[in-house]
């Protein structure tokens, strides 16, 4: 069987959902963040697959940007989480309840 674009897309869709699941059910901020990275990677995979099968480099270019953005986001995000941890000694999302109605 020939490997077509849909093979890659299914992998990417499943991976995306796994990542989303991670964001939804894990409670540790860092683990949630890892789920987010999975989602981004899934999107990247889809982009590259499309790019390849459409003979169009823009998709790969987008992946390049996505990776860069993800790196920046992770840097800021982790710094934030560390700052939070310093303040409250927790990285659990369920502890973020200082502002409730």
């Amino acid at each position: 069987m020939d490997i077509g674009v849909h093979h890659y897309l299914i992998v990417s869709a499943v991976l995306f959902c796994i990542g989303l699941l991670g964001v939804l059910i894990r409670r540790g901020l860092i683990e949630m963040y890892m789920g987010l990275e999975l989602m981004l990677n899934a999107a990247n995979l889809a982009l590259v697959a499309f790019s390849r099968f459409q003979n169009n480099l823009e998709g790969q270019l987008m992946v390049f940007f996505t990776i860069t953005v993800a790196a920046a986001e992770v840097a800021v995000g982790l710094a934030l989480i560390v700052a939070l941890y310093r303040k409250r000694k927790t990285t659990d999302a369920t502890d973020l309840t200082s502002m409730k109605l």
Partner: protein, 163 residues
Amino acid sequence: MHETLFYIFAALTLLCGLLVVFNPFSRNPVTSAMFLVLTMISISGLFVLLQAYFLAAVQILVYAGAVMVLFLFVIMLLDLRESEQRRLKTFSTVLGLAAVGGLAAVMIGTVKHAQAGAATAIGETRALGKLLFTQHLFPFEIISVLLLVAMVGVILLSKREVE
């Protein structure tokens, strides 16, 4: 050859991805992070199969080499050993599973009929670079500002208190 490799890498990707989120053996964030690294590397393998060599290398270089090290670094620094002793809430888990399951069904259902054009060999680094520095120079510059922002932000957020 291509098929076999695809199935190997795809399986690895999904397996490791799943282990990032759900690990029956360990709740240790380091484990999650390590499996995430493996996921990244497998995805990079898929990129190679898609002849996106440049991106495969960048994927390893940036994600596996820098981003994940950062993750590991932070996990170690904060010493998050048993971060998840709290029980997951059953309700939210079930809800999440249901929602994601639905989404997965929709996405896979949609995506599985995607049509393939005839693939030809592209993915030259040179072509990518040309595109990047001519047509898409503006987003490139914006990204550089973004990196600057991230740098400033990280320093602001983590530098020691000055009195």
